[in-house]
């Protein structure tokens, strides 16, 4: 393959960044145990590619090419540091194969999977896990991570340095846990992906993070077939992401599900999500249940024709396996739509009994919405204004005030 068109070359380098970067980093970490060295050498290899490929054309085996450049850099650095010969020999033998035997276990594991589990180890803070995942697996520049997570670049650099030092000093292993340990650790990995996605999806978030989260979920699904919660999370992402273009009105205000123009939903993403859900045999955990709920919305032509009874049942299951005030709140709303406002308001009252949802704008908004459905417009408008006063963001506040105004007409 020889393609010297600048745009094509730029695209090839961009693709190389996303596809090959984590594999090269992961392989170098496995052999050298040095995270910073691995990242620097992988980055150097991409820089060299950017210089050479426009003139020489993209090589036939871009991954192998990048691996060789990165590996030679690492060998140079380590030789200067005069590390033991065994490590240099091991490094010289590293080729572009993502899979390698798990140390001490003999099983063959994809290096990227090992990297994901190490970056998401529970002995690291959640902030560190998110930053490491973005930096080491997604290859996002430290400055960009800092910007998106609202800290200075030097703070983010320190956070990453501290996390890498903790991995080395505390003896956090570079491996994928097995058996019951895997069952305990996988939810923590998925939580990082979920946080990444919501940071991308939030009104004031960094949209690229949602794409990164989806890409990582796809990778995990490929590497861990049969883990239904991984598939469930990917399906959930796809359903939520399918609404990205319909979530705002022309004025930029957030639009609730019932008012969105459903023709603007990404129907390819919805089809993919449904296909993934259909492949999940078991009842599934929290992410699968949330995906089933999102699927009911995704296939409905309108809010009125949504299968609220199925959604209400899924929330019953969700509340059983993962009880939380917010899930009880959503459950109340679903029952209200499925079985009448009175049923919903009764469940809502129960959910708020412990005081857990006090000052929660969505709890007041839910009461307002169910009250409106019960035909009590005046009281509903007052409640929407109360919810608006509690809202966390300006778009959310405006959306709630709009609901109040509509009821006054």
């Amino acid at each position: 393959m020889s393609d010297s068109h600048p745009a094509a070359t730029a695209a090839a380098v961009a693709a190389a960044c996303t596809d090959y970067y984590p594999r090269i980093v992961a392989a170098l970490i496995r052999v050298t145990g040095d995270w910073t060295l691995a990242e620097d050498c992988a980055q150097d290899a991409l820089t060299v590619a950017l210089e050479k490929w426009p003139a020489d054309g993209v090589p036939g085996n871009p991954g192998g090419w990048l691996m060789t450049v990165a590996r030679n850099r690492a060998v140079d650095v380590l030789r200067r540091a005069s590390v033991e010969r065994r490590k240099l020999e091991e490094l010289a033998a590293v080729t572009f194969v993502a899979s390698s035997p798990d140390p001490g276990r003999g099983e063959v594991v994809d290096d990227r999977l090992r990297l994901i589990f190490t970056c998401c180890h529970p002995a690291l803070t959640l902030e560190a896990r998110v930053a490491l995942t973005l930096r080491t697996i997604c290859g996002v520049a430290t400055a960009d991570i800092a910007h998106a997570l609202l800290v200075t670049e030097s703070t983010m650099t320190r956070r990453l340095t501290r996390a890498k030092a903790k991995i080395a000093q505390a003896g956090i292993p570079y491996r994928v846990p097995q058996g019951t340990e895997l069952d305990e650790r996988l939810p923590g990995v998925l939580a990082v992906l979920y946080l990444l996605f919501t940071r991308g999806y939030d009104a004031d978030g960094e949209p690229a993070f949602a794409d990164e989260a989806i890409r990582l979920a796809r990778l995990l699904e490929r590497l861990m077939p049969g883990q239904s919660e991984v598939s469930g999370l990917l399906a959930l992402f796809l359903f939520q992401h399918s609404r990205r273009d319909a979530r705002r009105d022309p004025g930029g205000n957030l639009t609730t599900l019932d008012k969105q123009d459903r023709s603007r939903w990404d129907h390819d993403a919805i089809a993919e999500g449904l296909n993934i859900l259909a492949g999940i045999q078991r009842e599934g955990g929290p992410y699968t249940l949330q995906a089933r709920i999102a699927a009911c919305h995704a296939v409905a032509p309108s809010s009125d024709t949504t299968d609220w009874a199925t959604i209400a049942r899924s929330y019953d299951d969700l509340a059983r396996i993962q009880p939380s005030p917010v899930i009880e709140l959503n459950r109340a709303v679903a029952h209200g739509y499925a079985h009448g406002p009175a049923a919903g308001l009764a469940l809502l009252q129960a959910a708020r009994a412990g005081g857990a949802l006090d000052e929660h704008p969505l709890a007041v908004a839910a009461e307002a919405d169910l009250t409106a459905h019960a035909g009590e417009s005046g009281r509903a408008a007052t409640l929407f204004r109360q919810a608006a006063a509690l809202a966390h963001s300006e778009p959310e506040r405006r959306a709630l005030l709009d609901r109040a105004d509509e009821l006054d007409i």
């Binding site: 002995a123 000093q169 505390a170 003896g171 956090i172 292993p173 491996r175």
Partner: protein, 111 residues
């Protein structure tokens, strides 16, 4: 890797009292597997003495008596392949439920 495991009390112990782990069995198991090099219980902090030297002067005092009820009551020295193995050992210790365990790798002052 060598880890110091501080055995501490905690103001919020686990409320689940089913199948309480047995400390004797924990010690025997980990000693037999060569994963526990040493360990012991400590006398209460009322028996503790603090020593400092400031400007050449020796300062000896009773205590420390801190406000916190979360104190070190014992220790174990573990030899493990990595942190995950140390966590597996720690989770089986009775004080993981009754209190909490802090895992600290031995430091290399030169590194």
């Amino acid at each position: 890797m060598k880890y110091m495991m501080f055995v501490c009390t905690d103001t919020e112990p686990d409320t689940d009292k089913t199948n309480p782990p047995d400390i004797e069995a924990w010690v025997a198991d980990n000693d037999a597997r060569g994963r526990r090099l040493d360990g012991d219980a400590l006398a209460p902090t009322s028996a503790a003495t603090t020593v400092r030297v400031r400007n050449g002067e020796l300062l000896v005092s009773d205590g420390p008596f801190t406000e916190t009820k979360e104190v070190i009551v014992g220790y174990d020295v573990l030899e493990c392949a990595d942190l995950d193995e140390a966590i597996e050992i720690a989770r089986a210790h009775p004080m993981a439920r009754e209190g909490r365990l802090e895992l600290r790798p031995f430091g290399d002052l030169d590194g």
